[in-house]
Symmetry: C2
Subunit: 225 residues, 2 copies
C-alpha cells in the first residue's frame, strides 16, 4: 500500500507521480488543498506541503517528504529503471539541473506565472500582478533558451537517457503548459524534447489532470501540439 | 587540485566547506562576490551562484554546482566518513531536513534576516526592511522550536550521528549567529547541539571567517557562548 498526498499542479508532486510511474510502482493518490492547511497533511509533513509519500514497509509505515528526498529514496529503494545516470559526473549534472528547476526556475518563472495566474485564484489571494506575469514570461523565455542550448548538445537534459533532470523540467513546464504559457513554437528543440516526454506512459496521468473549474488549454494533452 | 568558489556567509557554500573538511579533502578557496556577476563564476555556473566545486579527475576537470548536487556527489565519490545514515528511512529523513533548511528556513528566516541585515548592505540594495526583520526573527524562533522538538528525541537532527541534516542546519544558523541573531539561551537543546557542532574540526574555518568591514558578534567563535 502506497499513498501519495499531492496537488495536481504542484511541480514537486508531479515529479513524484512521474517517478513512481517510471518505476512501475502502483500508488493511490490523496488530493491535498494544502493552502487550507489540512490537519492530515500537517500531521504527515510539518511544512504542510505536498508531496508526501506514505509507504508500508516490513518495518512499518514510512512517511517521506520533500520532493528531492523522496526522489533519492525511490532511486535507492527501486533502482530499476534508473532515473540517474551511471557516472558520478553525469549524476551530478542531472542533480544540478533538477535543483535548477526546483530553485531558479521556480523563483524566476513559476513564482510569477503559476502563482499569479493560478494559485492566487484558487487560494483567493487577490488579483494577479501584471508586472510579475510579464517578468515570469521574460524569465520563461530565458530558461527555454538555456534548455535549448543543452538540447543542442544532448538528447536529454543531462545526457542521452531520461533522468531526474528531464523529469524535473517536464514537471515544471507541464504546469505552465496547462495554462497555455509556453511559447513552444519559438523553441523547436524544447518542443521536440517535450513531445518525446509526452509520449512516455509515465506522463499519461499528468496529461489527464483536470482542475475543477480551471480546464487546461486545448492542446495540453495532445501529443502533436 | 580542488577549488571551491564560495562566499563566506552563504549557507550553501558553508555546507560544502564543512563536508569537504569532514571527509578530510583538501581544497583551495576562491572568494566570489557573486552579486557583481563575475565572469569566471558565470562561466562555471550559468546560475551565477556559489558554491561551485572544481575537481581535477582522471577524466579531466569536473565542475560541480548546486549545494545538494555537490553534497550527493561528495557522498558517492568519498563515502568515508558517511554524512548520510545507512538505512533508507534515515537517509530520507536526513535529506528531508536538509531540504527543509535550504528551502523553508531560507525563505522564512534567512531571506529576512541574513538578506535584510547583511546582503543588502554589502550589495548596496538599500535600507533594511524592519517588518521583514521582525518576521524573520519570529520565523527563527518557530524553527528553533521545531529543532528543539527533534533534539528532544535524538542526539543529532536525523539520528544519533552527524549527518547532512546537522550540516545544513548548522551552516544556516552559523550565518545568523555571525550577526548575533540566534537567541540560543531560549533554546537550550539547540544550544547544546550547536556547541557540539562548534567543537568539530570541520567547523574551525567557519568560525574563523571574518568579512572585511563586518565583524562577527563577540562569542561567534567561542565554544562556550
Amino acid at each position: 500500500m502506497r499513498i501519495l498526498h499531492h496537488w495536481s499542479l504542484d511541480p514537486g508532486s508531479r515529479q513524484i507521480r512521474i517517478a513512481l510511474s517510471e518505476k512501475s510502482l502502483t500508488f493511490e493518490t490523496e488530493y491535498q488543498r494544502f493552502w487550507e492547511a489540512p490537519d492530515d497533511l500537517i500531521a504527515l509533513n510539518p511544512s504542510g506541503l505536498p508531496p508526501v509519500l506514505v509507504e508500508e514497509t516490513d518495518r512499518g509505515r514510512l512517511v517521506l517528504c520533500e520532493p528531492r528526498a523522496i526522489l533519492e529514496y525511490l532511486e535507492e529503494r527501486y533502482p530499476e529503471p534508473p532515473l540517474l545516470p551511471s557516472t558520478l559526473s553525469d549524476r551530478a549534472e542531472a542533480r544540478r539541473l533538477a535543483a535548477w528547476f526546483d530553485g531558479k526556475f521556480t523563483a524566476e518563472v513559476n513564482a510569477c506565472l503559476l502563482h499569479e495566474k493560478l494559485e492566487k485564484r484558487i487560494q483567493s489571494l487577490g488579483a494577479p500582478d501584471t508586472d510579475a506575469i510579464r517578468a515570469g514570461r521574460d524569465g520563461l523565455r530565458w530558461h527555454l533558451d538555456y534548455v535549448s542550448t543543452l538540447l543542442d548538445q544532448r538528447d536529454g537534459l543531462a545526457g542521452p537517457r531520461f533522468t531526474l533532470a528531464d523529469l524535473a523540467a517536464a514537471a515544471h513546464l507541464s504546469c505552465l503548459d496547462y495554462l497555455g504559457d509556453v511559447p513552444w513554437d519559438d523553441f523547436p528543440l524544447v518542443k521536440a524534447w517535450y513531445q518525446r516526454i509526452k509520449c512516455r506512459p509515465s506522463f499519461r496521468a499528468i496529461l489527464a489532470d483536470r482542475l475543477p473549474g480551471y480546464p487546461p488549454i486545448s492542446g495540453y494533452q495532445d501529443l502533436d501540439f
